[in-house]
Assembly symmetry: C2
Homo-oligomer: 133 residues x 2
């Protein structure tokens, strides 16, 4: 229950890998090799991380990816949301009545509270914290 997708786990490892190289950049192939991630699959992950502004990229020869911010300034929530979107235990967390049970959804506040708890945990930890163990 509440399993984290392989994609998100790959994303965290890829970010950690980049965080370890202060200035240098790394190619997708290098990261894939270092972190045991299928290379082609990783490309799609890096694309999402870039779209969220967490990393930068250079195309062409000598291209690659690099951190866009200080690892201490990137929360785990940012990474998770970049890959899998917002945490949403049930569809009605955002809008009341947006689940199969309509406006009469007693458990709703319970799930909203859970979301807030998870969000807080993830927002409190940074990439630096996690990549250093």
């Amino acid at each position: 229950m509440f399993a984290v997708s392989a994609r998100t786990q790959y994303a965290i490892r890829a970010m950690s890998c980049l965080a370890k190289r202060p200035d240098r950049s790394a190619t997708a192939a290098e990261i894939a090799l270092a972190e045991s991630i299928p290379a082609k699959y990783l490309e799609g992950i890096l694309s999402r991380l870039k779209a969220s502004g967490l990393i930068e990229s250079e195309r062409g020869k000598n291209g690659g990816y690099s951190m866009a911010k200080d690892p201490a300034a990137i929360s785990m929530l940012e990474i998770v949301e970049a890959i899998d979107g917002r945490i949403k235990p049930v569809t009605c967390v955002d809008a009341p009545g947006a689940c199969a049970f309509g406006g009469d959804c007693h458990p709703r506040n319970f799930w909203i509270g859970l979301k807030a708890t998870i969000d807080a945990y993830l927002a409190e930890r940074t990439l630096k914290d996690v990549s250093e163990g």
Copy 2:
């Protein structure tokens, strides 16, 4: 991300339904109708809840399901675990090295902490809290 299965949501509603009838029992068909749950699907859910000791059942005519405990004594964690098993963000939360990345898994403690946070939230709330809104 972190979507709760329909099964677990159904289970919570079914438990709430039973919690509202102090002594009486209800048949699967009655609960299904009251909570808009596919009747046959619900049977399997009630079976798990019974296996975990949260509800009791009587077979045959005039049979049905009823609460095995006081709703205030049933934590949401018990219900969730009865349906979907233990919370496990990554496979290596229980045993180090039990993920694809072996013993060298830096994010592990991060996920263990998340599991503990979620478990605590769920353990703190009871069926009574949730079913009353």
